[in-house]
Symmetry: C2
Subunit: 95 residues, 2 copies
């Protein structure tokens, strides 16, 4: 099982716009067969920081996700709202 | 809903010892009523880095977790195996 933790730092004042796009990504991704869970969480100590916490069956499921039309469309929109590129930790579930 | 992302950097060579203690914490915590999910994931790009990804119903469930006997016993043991204190992001699930 693969877990991605993607830290997104959003430009001040653009959080609502970010959330709107993020929610579309979440809804679409949760329908993917290989997606086990997909959550968005806001850092309680920094209103500009959000984490996508994504759990997939395997690498193939991650590749499927990244090849979807909505991923290709939504990611650039999200990127435009960020202060800097997302910081992604790619992990393997141990337990 | 509360999500904690706890980044643990383990001393080189002590990963097995860390995993043994971590697995006990995971098994005990998953039995807590307020614990929705509790995973441990290893960073694919750094064999010393592990993330506890913990989802709780609310703040009260987090407080319950931290007041348990096993939390009080196991956390110091885990701390002794780390290079530095864990870096915890306390988040609220947005979606």
């Amino acid at each position: 099982m693969v877990v991605l933790i993607a830290k997104n730092t959003v430009k001040e004042g653009l959080q609502e716009e970010f959330l709107e796009i993020a929610k579309e990504m979440i809804a679409r991704t949760r329908e993917e067969a290989g997606c086990i869970s997909y959550d968005l969480a806001g850092d309680q100590n920094d209103t500009q920081v959000f984490y996508f916490i994504e759990k997939y069956q395997d690498e193939k499921a991650v590749e499927f996700h990244r090849a979807t039309e909505y991923f290709q469309t939504l990611v650039p929109k999200i990127a435009a709202l960020r202060v800097k590129p997302s910081e992604v930790s790619t992990c393997t579930v141990v337990e």
